[in-house]
Symmetry: C3
Subunit: 208 residues, 3 copies
């Protein structure tokens, strides 16, 4: 891969990190936390999913602690929320959902790819891709003592998992890596956006 496409990938990755950090910071402000709380939740939401993945596959120190730009980006996201949150809140929900779906797709695909590079079983790679996408938000909710939203609400982790499945399948079928990544990412993104738009939910077990 040439340097330009590497730069592009890094930029996209940092953009996803920034967005997740902003969402984590907004949750902290809503919970009335102080400046440090905003920073911690921005960091946790943006980076903990990838950190859990890296610890589990044995890639320590985790990528986001090897390259200071990830942590710095997360804290910039927290600072933006802290100082500008009245303006950020005015961004229409549709825009937030769309950007969040894009970041989710990116994280899920990147996590799946890294797991495959580390020779994990395809089934486990799907699991790790999903954790990369939703792990940060889960830890954020636990720190706020809320039952993690992904465990009870609509199609979110499911979209990440679907994208990971498509990516693993495409890779196993020897599709070119870029094609596999884009297919998986698109499936995740579209499934998430459409499910919000159409109010799709996962079934619940019927208590009889």
């Amino acid at each position: 891969m040439n340097t330009d496409s590497n730069k592009l990938l890094l930029s996209v990755d940092l953009a996803g990190t920034l967005l997740f950090a902003v969402e984590g910071g907004l949750a902290a402000v809503a919970a009335n936390l102080d400046l440090l709380g905003v920073m911690v939740l921005a960091f946790a939401t943006a980076l903990v999913g990838g950190i859990i993945r890296d610890v589990l596959i044995g890639a320590v120190p985790p990528a986001s602690l090897r390259d200071w730009r990830y942590t710095a980006t997360a804290f910039v996201g927290g600072a933006i929320v802290f100082f500008l949150h009245p303006y950020i809140r005015q961004i229409p929900a549709g825009v937030i959902v769309t950007l969040d779906a894009a970041a989710l797709a990116l994280f899920a695909v990147a996590g799946t790819e890294k797991a495959l590079v580390y020779k994990m079983h395809p089934f486990i790679a799907v699991l790790l891709g999903t954790i990369t996408g939703v792990g940060g938000g889960t830890v954020r909710d636990v720190l706020l003592t809320q039952v993690p939203n992904v465990l009870r609400a609509d199609i979110y982790a499911t979209a990440a998992m679907a994208g990971a499945v498509v990516m693993v399948a495409a890779t196993k079928l020897r599709a070119p890596p870029t094609f596999a990544a884009i297919s998986g990412g698109l499936v995740c993104f579209l499934l998430r956006v459409i499910s919000v738009w159409q109010h799709w939910n996962l079934p619940k077990a019927i208590a009889r």
Copy 2:
């Protein structure tokens, strides 16, 4: 060890995984989570104790992520609960307690043994064996924002710890490995079952 006894060990291990997964799934259904929530809690309850142990002793990727059959078994347990929970709930409590005590004994003994194989100090091996037994349930409770049951209720982690102590002691006294494992497992199992039957509890500090 010959292949037949290896197969037996794997079967027993997967049976324990399935049982813990079913219990995690039932907790998710009781908390009104959706299909994904049931799967996540089944996975967490069944496998996270062992995953924490493996990360702490440096055995990464953790065993349950190296062999896809563990994860698959956990998800099968979740699916069973999701589709059949009205029937599963009719299983008498005594049967559940007995099976759960058996799975706890199995996990505690297996966790202790692995820690000893990795040359951990006997005292730390007891700790890691206990974490293997109760770590999954603890994370399940945290995800449901409940104070972990093991921290406040009756003899559970204590039974795991007693089994681990017996196993370490027998190993240090050069007892045959199978004997050490069976003694430790029996102590854990019997202590747990008898304590439920006799309503034993750990003492609490008296607030004076």
Copy 3:
């Protein structure tokens, strides 16, 4: 370093561990947990910050599981609380705050130094030093299903972070290691004690 100063360092480290363990045990008693709950919270509060740091930098098994004296000290702290908590509660708050600030300073400085030894980026070393200082208390609060205190209350993690920054800066300026450690520790300790005394708090984002 000669043996005497090594012994001194170990003693100081174990003293900090004991103090954090006592604080964790007191939180468990206040939450009406049983003997095991007291032990688990003592362990978590005293050692989990350092364990997270070690897992993240790839130093596994973590130092506190390699040397059984750390775990033993944590459990001694738990036992002291369990049997003597009516007396411990009579210790004046000012003494507790001062001792706690000293332990926080010690953990933050030790964590930062270890991260630097493992060649982490200075920015990440500050983060890991802070996690070493406050990680245990955060996990304790999560186990008690409380929003972690460090996320919402006064200058605590901030003091740890300030001490870590001073230590990293002094190290980069080629100050002697002992000088760097003592400067960082003093800044953390004084900032914490003065902030309690003067009721300093971090700003919150103004909800407009």
